[in-house]
């Protein structure tokens, strides 16, 4: 499954939807928003995507992984909009009979998403003031 979504990502649902009874190794990468604060201000991230092209890029990346490692079942989902610390921005799932290929495909896919998918993040700042 390949998607760009504005909704919170349900990792368990993606795991259930991706893996089949043939899969002994399922590798999941979760990209989360980490703290970027510097004292008084807490930064969060605003993600933007060219959704149609991003989804197509996810399909192409999964096809590249299938060609290299024979992994047939992958999911890539990226969230857009304003995300706060701890929220999940992206999930990659790779399911395969054995773990070696699942690890490799998952690692490859997230690296490629970061390299080619038309998605951008921008920091935004929440001022924290004491009253």
């Amino acid at each position: 499954m390949f998607a760009v979504t504005e909704s919170p990502i349900d990792v368990n649902a993606l795991l259930r939807e991706t893996a089949t009874e043939d899969d002994g190794g399922i590798s999941i990468f979760v990209g989360a928003v980490r703290r970027h604060s510097n004292g008084e201000t807490v930064k969060a991230l605003d993600y933007e995507a060219y959704a149609d092209m991003a989804v197509q890029s996810f399909q192409e990346i999964a096809e590249e992984a299938r060609t290299r490692w024979g992994v047939e079942r992958m999911t890539i989902v990226h969230r857009v909009g304003k995300l706060f610390i701890g929220e999940i921005a992206v999930v990659v799932v790779a399911a395969s009979p054995h773990r070696r290929e699942a690890f490799q495909a998952c690692h490859y896919a997230i690296d490629r998403v970061k390299e080619v998918s038309p998605i951008w993040k921008k920091e935004f700042v929440l001022e924290v003031s004491s009253v």
């Binding site: 990209g31 993600y47 933007e48 995507a49 060219y50 149609d52 092209m53 991003a54 197509q56 990226h78 921005a89 992206v90 997230i110 998403v113 970061k114 390299e115 080619v116 998918s117 038309p118 998605i119 951008w120 993040k121 921008k122």
Partner: protein, 79 residues
Amino acid sequence: MRMTVKLFAAARERTRKSEVEFPLVPGMTLGDLGKALSEHCVGFQGITGRWAVNLKFAKTDYQVQAGDEIAFIPPVSGG
């Protein structure tokens, strides 16, 4: 015939437009389009990025066809 160019991220922020319309000139390349945008679209000058046509990256010597979906893709930072 006019075509629409989608703008994203820094290109969208600096021009304050998510789309611009342009007349399609026969034989026009993406490079020509970039020059035209730099001349006529305030804020577009000096923005780095790549072109995408019909959801795939394209080179600046690509000749634009009627019906192409064109987008300007600044350096990506997703994932």
